[in-house]
Amino acid sequence: MSEPQRANAATIDLEAEFRASGVGEVLDELDRQLVGLAPVKRRIREIAALLLVDKVRRERGLASRPPTLHMCFTGNPGTGKTTVAQRMADILHRLGYIRTNKLVSVTRDDLVGQYIGHTAPKTKEVLKKAMGGVLFIDEAYYLYRPENERDYGQEAIEILLQVMENQRDDLVVILAGYGDRMERFFQANPGMRSRIAHHIEFPDYSKEELLAIAELMLSEQNYRFSPEGRAAFARYLEARMRQPHFANARSVRNALDRARLRHAVRLFESRGRALTLDDLQTIGPEEILASRVLARPEEERAA
């Protein structure tokens, strides 16, 4: 009996393989720690399934080419692209697709040189450092600057493409950036688009999701909202989301940092009073309502 035939005869326990790989834990963690992002999570599950089945097939002697796993994450600021990339390295490592669980995060400055002949060694250095793991290029479109025809970014792109094509087993490249600019980048570099198998779009968060994120962030730092504080933050979010330069989870984090500051000031100013442990942890409505974001609409109304 040949090798594939014998494998046919025996049943394959995919469930056991799945448990043994430890990917389930990473996926569950992803579900727990990242609010929303349903399409992203679905896509990651798909990729995990593909890799798991591929691994099982390989072990049973069914030859197949290793899948191309270069990815592109597009989405507005603060939608969790970097966080997900970090998890991606974890998943790929557990499935044995990359050899070391590492994510080398770079931007244009790390790849592109200052003068002629500087770019190639610099890019190669970064690529070599990332080999065996994941290379995460944030705001990848800055690599390509059409307005300057002597820009060295093109050189970095060419080297990148070459390694992405020839050393697929050694390196997974994840490009990230804002959707519209990424689109323009790919239009100018069709070779790049065709070498990327997975285009994952990160949707904006809804108000409820942002509120859940805020609570998650606070609980990580041993804070919590009082019920009124929570309601006030919901109002804050509504107002903030309408303003320009809203950066999703990043804006939430900044708002919470400012709230913590006001919280500390409030406690400090009432220091004659005895404090309870609860006071130290609870962010009340005062902290949120003092925000400029909420004040402005009222001023406008008054005017």
Partner: protein, 141 residues
Amino acid sequence: MHITQGTFSFLPPLTDEQIKKQIEYCIAKGWAVNIEFTDDPHPRNTYWEMWGLPMFDLTDAAAVMYELNECRKVYKGRAYIRISAFDSSPGWESLRLSFITDRPDDEPGFDLRREESRGRMQRYSIRAYATERPMGARYGR
């Protein structure tokens, strides 16, 4: 004449897979891997030309293989290429492992020179036939 030097000199030439395994071993030990080449095969020629800097902060052998292949693109068939690994744990870089990965296609070998000296003393020296030509024009092409 098949010239051997360094670790594994008693073995047939290593395959790429074997080279990669050795590099993995070096990296796991925390050694910096370096690629060198020369077209002077004399055993006393210890200072070979360096292909770039030693690779200090790598975690994966694929990167060294990438550089080795880059070096081969330029020097394969025209020079000897070797891989050395340096250990810095004593406080200075010391050579731990060194082996030849590539040789010129045609190795003419050495000329043994005998020199009459005082009395009936005989002095010997060896000289590679290849070094009769200037550097860069010694092998192939």
